[in-house]
């Protein structure tokens, strides 16, 4: 099926088709020099098809041929995805570099999975077995996981295993089994299969309510605004508030099987940091290289705009694929605003009637559909798999009252709002403890969390009041409350990302320290005056801060704990909880 270009404007091409065209199918715009530029049909009017081109359109001419295909934009799934670095269209970037050097070249596409690498295949079925789409046919070891080779997700109905390849090394394009469908038609199955990226992949008995906390080792998240495996959360914040740093740290320390990083329309430098440092870092849980559990999808801001949208969907499809193996996957999308902006650019060129801030009217439903692809599922054999989605949002002017932030807040389970005031004051993480919220239950008893949130709120109120009436007009009780709130903020909510120990706090340590902090906050200090109060709290802060730097349960930790206990004992008996 072919067509001809009739107009070019930015990354939009209009082509006249001479036959059947499928909405959202793939097309190739053929440039005069032979390059074939991947595109997607996004609107059809009469014989005219509008395509968004995933490459720079420089050099395209009116009259150039367009090849239309039947298939949708799809991701290739199979062993060898882990540790890879792809662009938004799933081209392996290191392999591209080997071919084209420093610069990317429009129209060059490579197979996502290495075709020459053999995998040690072990069959899990026998001829005659009844299977369904998504059932395991065999396994191959991929890094620390048993990668399951599954019956093609696209084959509907009851299937029967006709033949299975014997155990041994196989490349991804070799047949591992032949399945017969209900009509008796035989389908050859290899280790790799494709799935359209815009269609959710969830072949499961049912969807479950996600409950298990996802420990990120970031105290303010785990203790105050927790995320669960299979849940969703968003991190909106003005520039410079540390969205990406937070994502990177999460990718490093999160207690999860697999992390998919979608760098969408952001800085190339940040991706470079991840891909240069991760291979050297150790997964805290398994002791193996972090890269073995990571997939990077990278479509940086200088790379073609339309591929940004594709990159987000490609990433979530890969995450869903590993969920089908019963693994816990975390997808970090940075930043969803760039994806929304790409939609806006395309919508503008289609001359659609604009909504708020020129975003298209379907913005919110697209965001909702994306986050709905997260979740915990029970697979047909009873195993559980999860996809957790954490997306950053980059609101214009740092103002959360804009369409992308608002559209996201409606659909996520936790909100980690970053504040410029906190980041300016070098408070890391800059998550605002008063604005943020989470609908999930984490590792700390919710009653205790509520108490500390109340303390923070009262502290903020006193601080505001003090700005009006001054320190002398503030009662010693209020003043103490403010100091206690500041103490909790400084010593617990903030973390030193550059300190080896303080950067990541395991769950049991968080629970232990949280209780100790509660104990100190409960002390009725009976301060004589404000200077004494301030000095005492400075002492407490000094103790707790140094405690944070001490190795969990190490000598230094125990020594400081003893000092803290002595300090609390010396300052008076803790009030009983009921009074507080």
């Amino acid at each position: 099926m072919n067509g001809r270009i009739v107009s070019v404007f930015g990354n939009m091409v209009v082509a006249e088709a001479d036959g059947r065209v499928v909405q959202n199918s793939v097309g190739y715009c053929c440039r005069g020099d032979g390059a074939r530029l991947l595109s997607e049909v996004i609107r059809i009017r009469g014989r005219l098809a509008d395509l968004q081109v995933f490459e720079e359109t420089r050099g395209l001419k009116v009259g150039n041929p367009v090849e239309f295909r039947d298939e949708m934009l799809s991701a290739t799934l199979g062993p060898g995805l882990l540790g890879q670095i792809f662009d938004g269209l799933q081209n392996p970037l290191p392999q591209l570099a080997a071919q084209t050097g420093y610069f990317l070249k429009a129209g060059l596409y490579l197979p996502p999975l290495p075709t020459d690498r053999p995998w040690e295949f072990t069959p899990a079925v026998q001829p005659g077995d009844a299977v369904q789409a998504g059932d395991t046919l065999g396994t191959v070891p991929e890094g620390m996981f048993q990668h399951r080779v599954m019956a093609p997700f696209g084959l509907a109905g009851a299937l029967k295993v006709a033949r299975v390849t014997a155990a041994g090394p196989l490349t991804v394009d070799k047949e591992v089994a032949v399945l017969a469908d209900a009509e008796g038609k035989e389908h050859s199955v290899t280790m790799q299969q494709t799935w359209p990226v815009k269609r959710p992949l969830a072949i499961a008995r049912r969807r479950l309510m996600p409950r298990e906390p996802l420990v990120t080792r970031i105290r303010i998240i785990d203790s105050m605004f927790p995320v669960v495996r299979g849940g969703t959360y968003c991190i909106p914040g003005p520039f410079g508030a540390g969205k990406t740093v937070l994502q990177q740290i999460t990718a490093k320390f999160a207690e999860i099987d697999i992390v998919v990083i979608a760098a969408c329309g952001e800085r190339a430098g940040e991706v470079v940091e991840t891909l240069r440092t991760f291979p050297e870092l150790e997964d805290p849980r398994t002791g193996r290289s972090l890269m073995e559990r990571t997939i990077i999808i990278c479509n940086t801001s200088a790379m073609p705009v339309a591929a940004r949208e594709a990159s987000v969907y490609t990433a979530v499809t890969l995450a869903e694929y590993y969920r089908q193996m019963g693994l816990a996957v975390l997808l970090l999308a940075d930043s969803t605003s760039r994806w929304a902006q790409a939609m806006r650019e395309v919508s503008g060129r289609l001359e659609e009637i604009p909504g708020e801030e020129a975003f298209p009217a379907y913005l919110e439903s697209r965001i909702a559909n994306f986050y709905e692809r997260a979740g915990q599922i029970e697979l047909r054999d009873g195993r559980l798999g999860t996809v957790t989605i954490g997306g950053t949002v980059s609101p214009a002017g740092g103002n959360f009252e804009e369409p992308v932030t608002q559209g996201t807040l409606k659909v996520v389970g936790a909100f980690h709002g970053l504040s410029r005031a906190r980041s300016d004051a070098r408070r890391y993480p800059a998550i605002d403890p008063l604005d943020s919220w989470s609908k999930y239950v984490g590792i700390i008893d919710p009653d205790k969390v509520t108490r500390m949130r109340d303390l923070l709120r009262r502290g903020a109120e006193v601080k505001q009041m003090m700005a009006v009436v001054g320190e002398e007009g503030t009662s010693i009780d209020d003043f103490t409350t403010m100091l206690k709130a500041a103490f909790f903020d400084n010593c617990y909510l903030q973390q030193n990302a550059f300190d080896k120990v303080d950067a990541a706090s395991p769950a049991d340590r968080q629970q232990f320290v949280f209780d100790k902090i509660l104990q100190l906050v409960d002390v009725d200090f009976q301060f004589a005056d404000k200077d004494v109060a301030r000095r005492t709290m400075v002492q407490a802060q000094d103790l707790f801060r140094n405690w944070n730097y001490a190795e969990w349960r190490g000598e230094e930790f125990k020594k400081t704990l003893a000092q803290i206990d002595a300090f609390i004992a010396a300052k008076g008996q803790p009030r009983t909880r009921a009074e507080c």
């Binding site: 990317l104 410079g240 320190e471």
Partner: protein, 432 residues
Amino acid sequence: MRKYYDQITRIAGNVVTVSAAGVGYDELAVVVGRRRTSLAQVIRLEGDQVSLQVFAGTQGVSTGDRVRFLGRPMQVPFSADLLGRVFDGAGRPRDARPDVEAERRDIGGPPVNPTRRNLPGKMIRTGIPMIDIFNSLVESQKLPIFSVPGEPYNEVLARVGLQANADIIILGGMGLRHDDYLVFRKTFEEGGVLGRTILFIHTAADPVVECLLVPDLCLAVGEGFALQGKRVLALLTDMTAFADALKEIAITMEQIPSNRGYPGDLYTQLARRYEKAVDLEGSGSMTVLACTTMPGDDVTHPVPDNTGYITEGQFYLRGGWIEPFGSLSRLKQQVNGKTRDDHRAIMDACIQLYALCRESREKRDMGFEMSAWDKKLLAYGKLFEEKIMDLRVNIPLEEALDQCWAILAECFEPAETGIRRTIVEKHWPKTP
């Protein structure tokens, strides 16, 4: 064969539409009139209607003019002969010297494969403590100076250019006042770096479309030198003028504006330029330092806002000094762990204390009583501003760190600084 098209069907703003066939998107063209000739670039193809953005503006273009297509995108000559030269926004010499005959590079070329980028890790020492200690500049970084008209942003830019010790300095001036251009020239001349400097200057009097080309020209040339292993520093001022030129063209093309009249792809357009900053694996690097004036000192204005999301930090220049709050170098942690063991501790402590000092000042200004702690903070703030923040201070990093310790010791007890004990024990000045 030279083929001319003479059916000009529309002239509006800086855009001319002509009927033509076989024209490539983004291609360069020449509009030949009776009085003058101007370069133009294809920005839209629709059937046989080709829209061109005319670099010199459409004033005086007539329906009788002829258009010739060059079959290639905009290019810039590239060789060592460029050094010491001055060009305008269309790449023509501005210094009354002949054209540079050399091989040409496409402008706005493809992006660098991220896997061939190096992790930035070399600090650029500027001698300005507010940069060196608190927000270290790193080779291959892209960083804007956010400022308002009236602040000495061009002076800071020129000073960094002089002191940064780069192999090649490329200055791109957009909407520059002629006086400013002369000041830059004089500064580079006196600093003895003009021989390794290239200037692309668009002044406020030049056609607006030429302003759009300045960053691309600078960056294409810079990229060429970086590929040859050179360490390039590109200075761009003022990127707001560039964005305004984008806005003008977008409105002419009847694009739906997204925010305050700016086109929806402002982010992408800016990012495509800034992302040219690079440290190439096995070759040279390009660092981009730009000025962005904030209309009405409003950082939420679309230009600084989008810029902030693209660049690796920003310096706020306000009231004659680089603001400690808000200013940020995102790459500083790549280098400030390798300088001296107290660098990070000083960086955090000094800023946190200075933030507290500002709170105390507010309290004082509202007439509240100052506690002993407030008084300490006030004394600290004054010293910090005089000895560290002042832009006239020009000392190496190590000296600046020692200076900070001296100020802290003069004002506080060690525990009050919040610096961890091991570092304090090592660096706290011993009382004589």
